[in-house]
Amino acid sequence: MKNNLMCLRGLLLLIACLLMPVLAQATPVQLKIAFLTQKMPAAAALSNLDPVLIDEGLQGARLGIADNNTTGQFTGHQYSLQYVELAAGADVGQAFERLLAEGYQYVIVDVQHVSLLALAKRARENNVLLFNVSLADGELRNESCANNLFHLIPSYEMQADALAQFMLKKRWNKWFLVKGNEPDDKRFAAAIKRSAKRFGMKIVAEKSWSFEHDTRRTAQAEIPVFTQGADYDVLLVADVKGLFGDYLPMNTWLPRPIAGTQGMVPRAWHRTHERWGAVQMQNRFYTQAGRWMNDVDYASWLAVRTVGEAVTRTNSTDSTAIKAFILSDKFSLAGFKGTKLTFRPWNQQLRQPVLLATPRSTVSVLPHKEFLHPLTYLDTLGYDKPESSCSFNQ
């Protein structure tokens, strides 16, 4: 009887021992990422062709979390996403403080320029890493750059440089620049001018579209008149919200191609992109979201994958260790663009090829190999180290 009891105890002990590692595996390291987005009033659409997206970015982040968790099942990491959506007038700072209180160290931000600057300060004070997935203006990567802020979306300057390199190769050296009135239009136009200078292009004419006409009725009449004047090779348009740019193709006085925010567009991602395994990404995203992936989705996916890759490689969840790894030589991300993606240490912008696309085809992927650079050809796009005015110490 006693012997039997002993046996039973031994058996129980054995079972307990066998179970231990299983239990240890059953409680993976948790890593939480927040997605903070502020809805902006939808711009007056030129047409009803494109549905207004209510889940832009979120779907990319969700897919990234799913991908990270697939890896996590082998590494013992579990990723979760908290989605915080704020109304147009809501207090972004307050929402961010709540995330800080809840212990979030990784926050994907899809907010306005002013809000981001305020968040960046608080992020630095609290050792939190921010991932910008939607703002493309150069100032955030230069004068207003911030220590704990990473940029996943290509800057306007990277986009414009991609266009300029393409034009240089085509020898379309004379540009007609048409810009809108919005702040982002001005930023994109400034990037276009910077690229023109950088690649020896000439802006032979520049005009602002001021919405003095009812273009819905008179595009055919107005655009030819508006574009009369100088001879040029290509018309570059800066209309970020898409308020008039789509009227330009086929309506210009001279038969010329359109590029920029409409016509042939520079993109981080495009539904026509299918090289380097991108088809798998397109399919996975479509299955999940029921729509095609856009730039903000792609940037959000990259943000989540950046964290996931760093956590997997360092086996740490501490933001200081993760940041150090992300900026080290050891970090590289595969983003379906045929080359590894890394961060520029001088402004924490993700290096990446830019796609030039028309609605139904990817025309080219820039930079082309002919654009040489001592470090990496990817640094021929955007602010290179010597041009950067970013200083993280301020």
Binding site: D67, T70, T71, Q73, F74, T75, G277, Q280, N283, R284, T287, R305, E309, T312, R313, S332, L333, A334, G338, T339, K340, K369, T376, Y377, L378
Partner: protein, 318 residues
């Protein structure tokens, strides 16, 4: 008449003759090439987007993954007619057959699984969950290990065929593509497309032992994207296809050093030896041809146009 010519061509080839089967990704077809003479014998229609392929153990059947048809087609190697298909999960790409001749392991890229198929019963044995975008499959010749690489998870998953489940995982460089066991099954070689590197993993400890980064003077580092890898039975040389670098690296296995880079066609994907080990064949996706390399001299002797986007290759001893 053509039939007789083909028959004649087959008869003329000596006992060293070999037949190459090459999948043409964009032609939805199979190119059949006489290896010794380097001539295209015929082209056979297949399912959509054919990629991975392998012969049955006795060489009588040819299995071809028709990725966009979500199936593996079975061809009779005598008639080259499709005689059936295997359930292969969605978007099958690469697969290998276990030395027992019965279990076929195929990666299903979109579903993050490896499907195990019984080729005799033509039924699915099980599905094994792996990392994101499973790609390469390799099986040790002793049949003890099946490995699968996952491109986005960046891991090698070690599948024990006796349990049909994962027992170990090894983290490797970004975007692992192909894997190949050394002839003695002591090492596993894995190519990483984005990192431009080759890892040698110790099979016993499952740890990365040594790494090699490819560098070619005058070729952009970004273009060096290692894909297919093939170990020579002498256990001395390893051949690595470098994708858009348009070269095959000849690697000394012991030193893990590149002996030579061989210039081949554009975007070289996959590799295969002739059965007599006189020749190495490469499929070149962009230039639509195959390159034939003489192994004794390590020289590229011929290139042959075979059709659009040649991808997979397997060789049959005639």
């Amino acid at each position: 008449m053509n039939k007789y010519l083909l028959l004649l061509a087959l008869c003329v080839s000596t006992s060293f003759a070999d037949t190459l089967y090459i999948t043409l990704e964009k032609d939805n077809a199979l190119a059949v090439v006489d290896g010794a003479s380097g001539t295209l014998l015929k082209t056979v229609p297949l399912g959509q987007r054919p990629r991975g392929l392998a012969l049955s153990k006795n060489g009588s059947l040819l299995y071809v993954a028709a990725s966009d048809d979500d199936t593996i087609q079975i061809l009779d190697t005598n008639t080259l007619k499709v005689i059936g298909d295997l359930p292969a999960g969605e978007d099958p790409e690469t697969f290998r057959i276990h030395p027992n001749g019965r279990w076929l392991y195929v990666s299903n890229e979109d579903d993050n699984i490896v499907t195990v198929v019984d080729v005799e019963k033509r039924s699915v044995i099980t599905e094994i969950s792996v990392g994101v975008e499973p790609e390469g499959i390799a099986i040790s010749s002793d049949g003890l290990w099946v490995v699968n690489t996952s491109e986005t998870t960046n891991m090698v998953h070690w599948i024990d065929p006796r349990q049909q489940g994962i027992t170990d995982n090894t983290l490797v460089d970004p975007r692992p593509r192909a894997a190949e066991f050394s002839v003695d099954n002591k090492s596993l070689f894995v190519t990483s497309e984005i990192a431009g590197s080759l890892s040698r993993i110790d099979v016993a400890s499952k740890q990365v032992e040594q790494q090699l980064s490819f560098r070619i003077p005058g070729v952009d580092q970004e273009l060096i994207q290692p894909v297919g890898v093939l170990a020579h039975p002498d256990n001395r040389l390893l051949f690595v296809a470098l994708g858009p670098a348009n070269r095959v690296a000849v690697v000394d296995i012991q030193k893990m050093e590149v002996i030579k880079y061989l210039l081949v066609g554009q975007r070289v994907w996959n590799l295969a030896f002739s059965p007599d080990l006189k020749r190495l064949y490469t499929t070149n996706g962009v230039s639509n041809d195959i390159s034939i390399i003489e192994l004794d001299s390590l020289k590229v002797t011929k290139s042959l146009r075979v059709g659009h986007y040649p991808w997979g290759i397997t060789v049959k001893d005639d």
